[in-house]
């Protein structure tokens, strides 16, 4: 009897947690929709004012992140190329280097590391900035001027963030594939033609779709989560670090969860196509 009670209470708790995740996701999607809608339907809104915030967001999230993305891309590209080359040498499958790089860098590492860098740099900044704006009554001030915070605050961060994430991920991929090869060349002789041929044969339309799907999701969800958490501050400044932490945790949770789900579905599909399943 006690065991049954324990099991049902655990199930209740997991069920409640699952429902709260659904409710939270629904609110995030609703906020995304409303912010886009506000820009479209708000007749009096100043598009010029909104796009100046978009460009500032792209500068901060995209341009200013280039140094850290370059270092990460170069390091991870070199590591993956060197390790893959070494292992493939043992197995005698050197021509598979392109496939391995596309699978590891383009499909997995690039979207994931870019998202983590953006969460660490811009996600925290957006959540704390909006939290402080809430405390300083800046959001209320915008409303009092008939400026919809959803179109003036949320949409530019969302749109600018999305563009930045996609561009950064593309830049990450490029630097890790090109830079990684150059670094590897210093320690190990690998013909350029062989490397480029192998990469060209490995690339397919599916890689582009997977790349875009993952980065679009990251771009939208990181910024909508951080805006949502920033707006959740009520009155006190001590709430700001708390919501910032929560924004980071939730962003990582959603990005990791989505990446894992998409990759799993993609490989199940591949297995079905190969007739394994």
């Amino acid at each position: 009897m006690h065991k049954l009670a324990f099991i049902t209470s655990r199930l209740d708790s997991w069920g409640a947690q699952l429902i709260s995740v659904f409710v939270y996701t629904k609110e995030l999607l609703m906020m995304t929709y409303l912010s886009v809608r506000a820009v479209i339907y708000d007749e009096t809104q100043g598009l010029r004012a909104i796009f100046s915030v978009v460009s500032a967001q792209i500068y901060f999230t995209g341009f200013q992140a280039l140094p850290i993305i370059s270092v990460l891309a170069l390091a991870s590209g070199s590591i993956v190329i060197m390790q893959s080359n070494l292992q493939l040498n043992f197995l005698g499958g050197n021509e598979m280097i392109g496939n391995l790089l596309v699978v590891i860098i383009v499909r997995e590492i690039s979207p994931l590391l870019t998202a983590l860098v953006v969460i660490a740099r811009s996600g925290t900044a957006v959540a704390s900035e909006l939290g402080n704006m809430r405390v300083n009554k800046e959001i209320e001030a915008l409303e009092s001027m008939s400026i919809n915070p959803l179109s003036y605050i949320v949409f530019p961060r969302l749109f600018g963030g999305l563009i930045s994430v996609i561009c950064l991920a593309f830049y990450f991929t490029l630097v890790s594939l090109v830079g990684g090869f150059v670094v590897t060349k210093l320690v190990h002789d690998m013909p350029l033609n062989f490397y480029l041929d192998s990469l060209a044969q490995a690339f397919s339309g599916e890689d582009v779709i997977l790349f875009l799907v993952k980065n679009t999701f990251s771009g939208v969800f990181i910024f909508i989560i951080c805006c949502y958490q920033g707006f959740s501050v009520k009155r006190s400044p001590h709430e700001v670090p708390q919501v910032t932490t929560k924004a980071v945790m939730n962003s990582i949770f959603y990005v990791m969860g989505f990446n894992l789900t998409v990759t799993t579905l993609f490989y199940l599909n591949q297995l079905i196509r190969l007739g394994v399943l």
């Binding site: 007749e43 009096t44 010029r48 009554k137 001030a141 008939s146 400026i147 959803l150």
Partner: protein, 239 residues
């Protein structure tokens, strides 16, 4: 949708307010038709809800029950976009804060007219540049709020509330931190807004004797969670 030309009637009907998640009622049974061409001073003890009353008038808070009607339309039924056409006729100045910290004082003042470019009052920007100079903000106009004295921040908030030349102006302690010259400037500015026919109704809460003496036509009291119009009744309730 556009800017409503006139705020003919502004009215509270049986308005009750309590903060979300809190059981205690801040005020209830509020019934008032705000008179045109009057300056209404709001009086009440600390925590009586003067600021919240002004925020409800500005549409920043919604009544928990009852109706806030403008031109006979309940604003609770309007979306943000629909309410914009009314709100462009309402100016609001915060007691504390309310300035965008990543913008200079000048950018803060000009933001409403830049955002709502199509509803900008002709010559409004030029006039505001003159006002910035006359208000003594010329030297700090390009600095951010955190880099200027409190009196400049306060003056900026008040000037911003006037840039769209509102018919209904709501000022929450507008003179806190202002110098004597600043107060005089503000009083003259408000009087000229009235004389030029832009400002119809001013509702403010203030403890400043000079400002209150110059600006008050009618006093309304918030006491025992209700609105009281006469001084005698307010005194009787204190006894």
């Amino acid at each position: 949708m556009g800017k409503i030309k006139n705020l003919d009637t502004v009215e509270f009907k049986n308005v009750k307010f309590n903060f979300s998640g809190e059981n205690e009622t801040l005020f209830e049974h509020m019934n008032i038709l705000f008179p045109n061409n009057k300056n209404l001073r709001l009086v009440g003890s600390t925590g009586s809800g003067k600021s919240t009353f002004l925020k409800i008038l500005a549409g920043l808070e919604l009544p928990s029950s009852g109706e806030y009607l403008i031109n006979g339309i309940s604003i609770g039924d309007l979306s943000f976009e629909e309410f914009t056409s009314y709100r462009l006729n309402i100016g609001f100045s915060f007691e504390y804060g309310g300035l965008l910290n990543n913008k200079s004082l000048k950018e803060n003042i000009l933001l409403p007219s830049q955002y709502h470019r199509e509803f900008e009052v002709p010559g409004g920007k030029q006039r505001m540049h003159q006002l910035i100079e006359r208000a003594g903000l010329k030297e700090t106009a390009n600095l951010r709020p955190s880099m200027v004295p409190g009196s400049h921040r306060k003056m900026t908030v008040v000037l911003r509330s006037l840039i769209m030349r509102p018919q209904l102006l709501l000022l929450d302690e507008p003179t806190i931190g202002l110098t004597a010259e600043g107060k005089e400037f503000l009083i003259n500015l408000l009087k000229s807004e009235r004389d030029e026919g832009y400002l119809k109704t001013l509702v403010f809460s203030s403890h400043d004797e000079m400002f209150c003496n110059e600006m008050t036509n009618t006093t309304i009291y918030i006491k025992d969670k209700k609105l009281i119009y006469s001084v005698d009744e307010a005194k009787r309730r204190v006894v």
